[in-house]
């Protein structure tokens, strides 16, 4: 009891605590409770054993992880460019990188069509040159998810890079480290927690993506029917399956984010105290 006295909790104004609790209840606890309340617990086994459900879950995990990987691969250089270089039109580039955040996902899907569809800007060339058709494939789903999720990664990492104490990088340079070595051994470890947090955010967004996926990738079981799509269609016809799958999605997300979140904050705390 006396252990806690005078700690951070003591410094929280009562009003803030109350609002926080109310908000948590309204926006997070109640909807989840609603799902749990209506869940057909007896049907859980049959729904989870259903081939369609399992395919949707597997596809969702594969696509969201791939999208996260692509976001890391392409998003990191973009974040670096925005944080570390100063060029004309940088604000335009940032606006572009963040555009998918403000675009309604379905609009994003349509835009992807116009770019990568059969008659699209790049799409028609891809078809002619390589015979690649992107829409209705699993790659389309991955691309759609990457499109909507990458901005989260870029923003998180750009913020982190800006906050880095560049004096350490100067020290490393003076010791003879090349630019890549500095980035690898000094900068990246410094922003490690932020990268992890960015990846978690990105993955969560990719996992829940619906509008762009269904528009651009279509809906085909085992190939493009991700879990959100399966849930939507389940609600159309057979409600119980919809709730079951929703809870599966929530459970997977909560577990992963909780694990990653606690790691991120542990890492952050360690850095702060040193």
């Amino acid at each position: 009891m006396s252990r806690r006295r005078g700690g951070a909790g003591e410094r929280t104004p009562a009003a803030v605590a109350v609002v926080a609790l109310v908000a948590l209840t309204i926006f997070f606890v109640l909807p989840l409770a609603g799902l749990l309340w209506r869940a057909p617990w007896s049907k859980f086994g049959s729904v989870l054993g259903d081939e369609q459900s399992r395919q949707a879950l597997r596809l969702s995990l594969v696509c969201s992880l791939s999208a996260t990987g692509l976001s890391l691969l392409f998003g990191f250089p973009i974040a670096w460019l925005l944080a570390r270089t100063d060029f004309r039109g940088r604000s335009v580039v940032r606006a572009l990188a963040v555009l998918p955040l403000v675009l309604p996902p379905v609009v994003g899907g349509v835009a992807l069509f116009y770019a990568f569809g059969r008659r699209g800007l790049i799409g028609q060339w891809l078809e002619q040159a390589f015979g690649w058709e992107l829409p209705f494939t699993v790659w389309a789903a991955i691309l759609a998810e990457t499109f909507v999720a990458m901005p989260f990664f870029v923003i998180t990492v750009e913020g982190a890079l800006r906050g880095v104490d560049t004096r350490f990088e100067d020290a490393a340079a003076s010791l003879g480290a090349g630019r890549f070595t500095v980035m690898r051994r000094i900068t990246l470890p410094a922003i490690g927690p932020s990268i992890l947090a960015g990846l978690a955010l990105t993955w969560a967004r990719a996992l829940g993506e619906f509008g762009a996926t269904i528009t651009f990738a279509g809906n085909f079981q085992g190939r493009t029917q991700t879990l959100p799509l399966a849930i939507y269609l389940a609600f159309e016809s057979n409600q119980p399956a919809g709730i079951v799958l929703s809870l599966v999605l929530v459970a997977v997300s909560v577990v992963v984010l909780a694990v990653v979140g606690s790691r991120v904050f542990a890492m952050r705390d360690r850095v702060v105290t040193t």
Partner: protein, 260 residues
């Protein structure tokens, strides 16, 4: 004792007041012979295939009944049916098939018996000029032809599967879209070579060519409409239903539906 009587009277008055306010949509006049002047906003949930047709009828209804407004929510019939069951505030429901309407009736959400307003059947939609030379259902299985269908959970998807089964064609589509408009859009955009949709959709699209499906294998669906029991504008809802039933020929002539 006196206080109890006063309270009882007050309760009785308020209960009766509540009861009478339920029919607020209708006019103040109690007369049943004269046509009451209609007013208010109507919410109609209708199948996606009725988009163009109902929108046009809606404007005509508003012109004929100044002071009224008709708001539409178009979507897949199964989607809409779910919403109504969950208590979405709606006044009228128009379905693309009888199965979904039966669910509404079974749940006693209807105010009166449903009325049929049109029929529809399926057709193959292809790009103008028919570059892939699709003439029959079997042609859809030709290599290199990208076909999209509606998802089986929506009426047009169920019917498409039925038609293909009737014709003995084993087709694996590239995608099963969540409603008929999305399905058609894929062909309009040029992303798919063919889709199986309603003839009404082909007619109203203007951007696709229709290939007829033989009557022998085709499915004919009936579109019913009904006013909903929980509607707050009962008279207005009933008026709309009558209006649509009366103008059903317009749906046939202008929007590609089939007559009853």
């Amino acid at each position: 004792m006196r206080r109890t009587i006063v309270i009882a009277v007050a309760l009785a008055v308020s209960v009766s007041a509540c009861g009478s306010s339920k029919s607020k949509g209708s006019s103040s006049s109690p007369s049943s012979t004269s046509t009451p002047a209609l007013s208010g906003t109507l919410t109609v949930l209708a199948a996606a295939s009725l988009t163009n047709g109902f929108t046009a009828l809606g404007k005509e209804f508003e012109t004929a009944n100044p002071g009224t407004k008709v708001n539409f929510s178009f979507g897949s019939s199964s989607d809409l049916e779910t919403q109504i069951e969950q208590g979405a505030p709606a006044d009228v429901f128009a379905s693309a098939d009888e199965a979904n309407m039966d669910k509404i009736v079974a749940a006693h959400d209807n105010a009166t018996a449903p009325h049929d307003i049109a029929k529809n059947r399926l057709a193959i939609a292809v790009e103008p000029g028919n570059p892939k030379h699709i003439a029959t259902l079997a042609d859809l299985t030709k290599p290199g032809v990208v076909v999209v269908l509606c998802d089986p959970s929506v009426p047009c998807g169920k019917f498409a599967d039925q038609v293909l089964a009737n014709a003995g064609v084993n087709l694996t589509p590239k995608s099963r879209e969540i409603n008929v408009k999305a399905t058609l859009t894929k062909v309009e955009l040029g992303e798919a070579d063919a889709a199986i949709v309603y003839v009404s959709d082909v007619k109203t699209s203007g951007k696709v060519l229709g290939v007829t499906i033989p009557d022998a294998v085709n499915v004919v669906t009936t579109l019913p409409v009904v006013a909903l029991k929980d509607s707050k504008h009962a008279a207005l809802a009933a008026a709309w239903v009558s209006f649509v039933v009366a103008h059903q020929n317009e749906l046939v002539s202008d929007f590609g539906f089939l007559p009853l």
